[in-house]
């Protein structure tokens, strides 16, 4: 076995120091070491986006990033998006507009939408569709996901207090 490496990662505002194999994927680190199972694995080859999390403020596909690459960094996952017990406006949008069915792609889709709205708070439908082209949903046909992001965009522009969690 390869020698383990010690990494320090801040996830959803909480710092963790862990010994990991250098080959361990970030998504396995989040899911199996930290028990944050909200981030999913859909394709293993970075096409589907079910594993999208924010690393140092940018959306990444955590199935093709090594845990050691996150050493010293800050990660935001679906579990840390909203304050305890509450919903982020994007989560509210997905619920309100029926933007999910089986829910498996949803955490990644929400995190990708988070990145999209951070860079472009008022996207057009075309911009939303292009912005989410790295995420595959097999259930919804994307129409209600577009509506969910539009809804979130409106909520976020009318709400002065959009939660800005740590890690971003």
């Amino acid at each position: 076995m390869t020698t383990k490496r010690s990494i320090t990662v801040t996830v959803n505002g909480q710092q963790h120091q862990t010994e990991v194999e250098p080959r361990m994927l970030l998504v396995h680190y989040l899911r199996e070491v930290l028990d944050l199972t909200g981030t999913h694995i859909g394709c293993n080859t970075s096409q589907c986006g079910a594993c999208v999390v924010m690393l140092n403020g940018e959306a990444i596909k955590s199935c093709t990033v090594l845990a050691v690459q996150a050493d010293g960094g800050e990660v935001l996952t679906i579990e840390g998006l909203a304050p305890e017990g509450g919903l982020h406006p994007i989560q509210e949008g997905f619920w309100e507009k029926h933007g999910l069915q089986c829910g498996f792609c949803t955490p990644g889709m929400i995190m990708a939408s988070y990145q999209l709205l951070k860079n472009n708070p008022h996207p057009t439908e075309t911009e939303i569709r292009r912005g989410l082209e790295g995420n595959i949903c097999r259930c919804t046909g994307y129409q209600n996901i577009v509506k969910a992001v539009q809804d979130a965009s409106e909520r976020m522009s009318t709400s002065a207090e959009t939660p800005v969690p740590a890690g971003d």
Binding site: N44, Q47, C102, R138
Partner: protein, 778 residues
Amino acid sequence: MGIAAMLGTPVKRREDPRLITGQATYVDDIKLLGMLHMTVLRSPYGHARINTINTDAARQLPGVVAVYTAQDIKGTVGNIPVAAPLPPHITSGMGRRLPLAEEKVRFYGDPVAIVIAENRYIARDALDLIDVDYEPLPVAIDVEKAMQPDSPILYEEFKTNVATSMHPSSEQIDKIFADTVANGGVIVKERFVNQRLAPSPMETRGVVAEYRKSDKALSLWSSSQIPHLLRNYLAIQLGLEQNQVRVIVPEVGGGFGCKLNIYPEEALASFAAMKTGRPVKWIEDRDENLAATIHGRDQVNYLEAAATRDGKVVGLKFHVISDMGSYLQFFTDVIAIAFTLPMLSGCYDIPNIYSSCDTVFTNKAPTDAYRGAGRPEATYMVERAMDVIANELKRDPAEIRLLNFVQPEQFPHTMATGALYDSGNYGAALEKALDIIAYDKLREEQKQKRAQGKLMGIGISSYVEMCGIGPKGTTPFGLYESARVRIEQSGTVIVYTGTSPHGQGEETTFAQIVGNALSIPQEKVLVLHGDTDSTPEGRGTYGSRTTSVGGSAVFQATERLKEKMKTIAASMLEASASDIELEDEKFTVAGSPQKSVPFKKVAAAANTSNTLPPGIEPGLETTVFFEPEACTFPFGTHICVVEVDQDTGEPEITRYVAVDDCGKQLNPLIVAGQVHGGIAQGVGQAMYEEVVYNEDGQLLTSTFMDYAMPIAPELPHFELGHTVTPTNVNPLGVKGVGEAGTIGSTPAVAAAIADALGVAHIDMPLKSEKLWRIIHKQ
């Protein structure tokens, strides 16, 4: 929202809060103490003899607990179950297999050995240390070549790859065709390839097995659509009693039919847990999912159609070849026979339908149910036939359809295929779709665009499908559905359903059914599913049957309890039960609104029992098994508009209108979602998706890099409309909508692209390269 208006309203899904916050538990989220991980070694060949397997090095890798091959499981683990084995070959072993290949592998991805290790990384490492000596054999990949006598044979003892061959005499249909020609009519012929697809739910398959040796108790968590069927067949495979096996289906990340199956890994993980005494988890990688989970469709079909000069179709003649792949999974052998053949008249009143059918083994993954399961293939053939006829007669495709539809007053109607259609109004759905899209104006626009050299096309598809299976006798195990409903002392309700959702939102819909029937807020109703120890025996979720069959069981159980509550309320109000009404959470004496008792009080009286009148059994709990007497036939019309880029051949859907009729809509939000997703998958088949094997049997589409499903920018905004034609097949008047979009959309897109290019037919998937070659005659 008024309680009375609860059914038919767009109630937000109660499932969502756990799903949008990452708190849902899918099978890979389950972690048990001492849990081991399983990986599967799979065949790199499409067809090969296994000479030897050496597992010594793998066993010696630190962290590996066990390695098993077919030799280890033989005699302990039974064959993969088949729902409805067809005689003669299949019952004598053709297409049957152990969960691990013995002697021969028959497709790329065929399981050969399993490794059980302390973690998934070690389990994966150990696969590379297993040495299998294969002797590669020639492969049968092309289904029509596989039917030839000189083809390599998958099951040598049967001397053919053809499992069933149904070729009734065609004398009668041939005469009708000859008469049609003699009378000045037309005959059109076409060959259609309905390509092989990968269902590709975003969550792959996965299982966790745990075994308690002391009392032979096996618990299996599986990402499945059929907990009870899985439990029953797994017990047989493992030699356990049914009540020693508990199947738990946690949150499921999509199924689309591919989890309506009993797979090798379910028995293998169970076997490993029984042997090692420790829980075993297996999570399928995507490349395994694309290689070894069932595929869908894969038919080659021949059509001949006879029509009069004025467009009346007088006969259709079909030859259906079903490529079953290498082995029989649960419904592999019956998809074409039971679901394609009965639907070959589509929405049309065609007096003569002839079909012949061959089901054939090839060196590919098994095919089985994928969203629509046999019905999309039928609809595609019939709808393409209508277009080819319209093209031949230079008539508008809408006009040809309207001319041939079964008329509303003809229902219930037995088609020439033998299928009994419950109800329908096909003309109304088509007219509505034409209206929404402003069809005449659109054809004008098309003329203008063509004049400018632009390739605009319009495609119409009027579909009908068969849902809500039952009835009795359709499968050896019965196709009923069940519900146990319990009204508790506090007035809250628990529903235990035998169905098993994987994204359909049935917790919400079922709560609406119960809330509406009991006039209580739907929030007071809890819906539980997926655990065979607590839910009544059910058949699972597939075939768009959950609401029509499972929902009807929920409805009838609730009504039964409501009647009991009325009797109790009558005694409390000193009135006759027949005078008691239930509204706004109160039981009231008809005509005397001041005489009432709250729902909660009656629930408390029933459950505490002391004040119940003599003769009334305490408690409010009942179980209903609902078995439909017939199937339902949802229908609709989809219209697709495309523009194909002259220079690149790239097609773009510019408008998409869908008018669907699924009977009564209990939750229009969920119905629309099902239609959207269904259309997306149907568009996927028409434009992008195709499982490809090369001539050596190697799978070329083994990642999402190569198996292309639609992404957001590739799909348009869908414009939906609906008509409502209730059915009397079930008490809710619902027909089913889970597969409608997929069935309706594929022919509409295919027709639009063919129309854009001015040709009668192009085989799918309609990728830009193929279209560019047609445009540029390359």
